[in-house]
């Protein structure tokens, strides 16, 4: 086994947990002393730094959600002095307000370190050429992968998104060995390559892909690996946590979450209490080393489970199983996060329609198509089809403005959409996962 940092990566669980506790204590003391906001929140929760005596005590700390980031836009949660901030990434918000993540030099260093370890865990090294086909820019994906790959000593091809034919040429000509992108983009690229008569498996040096930023399945992995003859590695991260952070090792048996950088808990989404070890629940992340934007018990909304058993690769850090759902039903359309609550929000502001709606997402070729069915308010019914079309257009425009995604709106007869007694099912995802 080749490790990027074997001392840390193979430390036993007790050792990892001791590091985590020591970092957590330091973090909590620092925030209590330096951040009026965290200080107030801890006082409110009735917890002092001295109360954190074991890792289990982490539950006493108040949890954070995306709301906290939005409410404190742009940088009120930052705890590093402005002169120490080296970079910002910005992600689209759920009610139109974006969230901003800041990084100090050490934050970027740790982020890169995390990815370098992950890349090495499935065999990448300084001889590799990694094409980063994640978006560069405000989105944290492209630059995150870029720095991780450079840290590893690999050569980076910063292709970003789009220009698929050019990307295929680059893979051939620059002898690219690994590509980072979304699974759907890789499938699209492979289809384009086939049309051009290029077999990405045998006509190029490509032998792995680092895939994330959208949910994908084991079936999709089998499809990609079988069709392209490469290894498809699952990657996990979130902009709030830095960006893409962790991947699977060559065993493809869960994503190694580096315990020295990150403490992950699994809680019951309803009660917020810890579930039993190995049980499924909502993931809660504490970034132990972050300087610019501390994340304490961040409830990210993803549902999965954590396995602590030593991996067959020899690494000891907890492994994250596939994310199988979202607490808040967030859907990702063409790489953009969409929350059903946003749709509700828009409908609430338009008199001619009710709050009943149904979102359908379908694959259109390799792209996603989103349709929103809304019920006309019976009072607004008119015999005038042009006026009804006008209502459809109004809803469509308002949704597009907030979501930044093209939306097809269908106006429905009042009462025709399904009603729910318990939790409403507002999203039908018909996308083909191959």
């Amino acid at each position: 086994m080749h490790c990027w940092n074997s001392k840390i990566e193979t430390l036993d669980r007790g050792g990892i947990e001791r590091m985590q506790l020591s970092s957590l204590k330091g973090l909590v003391s620092r925030l209590y002393e330096c951040s009026p906001l965290y200080h107030a929140r801890m006082r409110e929760a009735g917890v002092m730094p001295a109360d954190i005596a074991s890792l289990e005590d982490v539950v006493r700390l108040p949890a954070m959600t995306k709301e906290d980031l939005r409410d404190n836009y742009p940088d009120q949660l930052f705890t590093a002095p402005p002169k120490d901030i080296l970079r910002y990434h910005v992600s689209s918000g759920t009610t139109g307000k974006p969230t901003v993540v800041g990084y100090t030099r050490k934050d970027i260093e740790n982020w890169s370190e995390s990815l370098a370890r992950s890349f090495a865990s499935f065999g990448l090294g300084d001889r590799d050429v990694i094409q980063v086909s994640n978006g560069y820019g405000l989105f944290s994906g492209g630059l995150g992968m870029h720095y991780g790959a450079e840290k590893l000593g690999a050569a980076v091809v910063p292709a970003s998104t789009g220009g698929t034919k050019k990307q295929i040429e680059l893979i051939k000509d620059l002898r690219v060995t690994s590509i980072a992108c979304t699974p759907s983009y890789l499938v699209h690229m492979n289809e384009t390559a086939e049309d051009l008569g290029v077999d990405l498996g045998s006509d190029t040096m490509l032998n792995s892909a680092i895939l994330g930023a959208e949910p994908w399945s084991e079936n999709m992995r089998r499809h990609i690996e079988g069709r392209m003859g490469i290894r498809a590695q699952n990657c996990y991260g979130a902009s709030e946590l830095s960006g893409p952070l962790f991947t699977e090792c060559d065993q493809q048996d869960g994503i190694h979450i580096w315990g020295d950088l990150c403490l992950v808990e699994v809680v019951d989404p309803e009660t917020g209490e810890h579930v039993g070890e190995g049980e499924r629940g909502e993931l809660v992340f504490t970034m132990l080393q972050r300087e610019a934007l501390p994340m304490i018990r961040y409830r990210i909304g993803d549902l999965s489970e954590i396995e602590w058993e030593r991996c067959a690769c020899g690494r000891t850090h907890p492994r994250l199983q596939r994310v199988t759902g979202r607490v808040d039903d967030m859907i990702i359309i063409r790489g953009i996060n969409v929350f059903p609550s946003q749709v509700e929000h828009v409908l609430g502001s338009i008199d001619e329609v009710t709050q009943q709606y149904l979102i359908t997402v379908e694959s259109q070729g390799v792209l996603d198509r989103m349709t929103v069915q809304v019920e006309l308010d019976a009072v607004a019914f008119t015999d005038d089809i042009l006026a009804l079309r006008g209502i459809t257009a109004k809803v469509s425009k308002a949704l597009q403005e907030l979501l930044n995604v093209r939306v097809e709106v269908q106006l429905m007869e009042p009462g025709s959409l399904p009603r729910f007694e318990g939790k409403a099912k507002r999203v039908i995802d018909k996308r083909v996962v191959m």
Binding site: A378, D383, D384, R389, T392, G415
Partner: protein, 140 residues
């Protein structure tokens, strides 16, 4: 007053919906004189000219249908070749813009039902030209 009340119903595209509507109207004791179906993107609008619009409207509403009144005009046409052409020509000459129209036939004459841009103005122009729009009692 010869502006007629047409009953318009919004219906989702589903088989059996028309029969739902016609059954309700029949049970309410309203006779459908003429009707048309307009097709929207994923719903239709059924437009009904009945002899008792209030009964039909109430029964449909009670059954949970989305229903409204629409003001339309109806004029008599000669039931012979060229009859519709004469009616259409008159409207054209009088500057009446027809949004949609449908027709039905009674013994002895035919009726053209029209939704126009401005019903009150169209009514005046028609009358000034000696064409008396029909009221509910003279429809049948």
């Amino acid at each position: 007053m010869s502006v007629l009340r047409q009953v318009s119903v919004m219906v989702e595209n589903r088989t059996g919906k028309l029969a739902d509507i016609t059954g309700t109207v029949g049970d309410a004791g309203a006779n459908i004189l003429g009707f048309s179906i307009a097709e929207g993107e994923n719903f239709g609008i059924i437009r009904l000219m009945v002899d008792r619009p209030e009964q039909a409207h109430e029964a449909l509403k009670n059954k949970g249908h989305t229903v409204s009144y629409t003001e339309v005009l109806a004029i008599r046409m000669e039931d012979r070749p060229g009859g519709l052409h004469e009616a259409a020509s008159s409207c054209g000459r009088l500057g009446i813009n027809i949004v949609y129209a449908y027709a039905f036939r009674n013994p002895g004459h035919a009726v053209l039902v029209m939704k126009v841009d401005n019903a009150a103005e169209a009514l005046r122009s028609l009358r000034a030209a000696g064409i008396e729009p029909l009221d509910h009692s003279s429809l049948v």
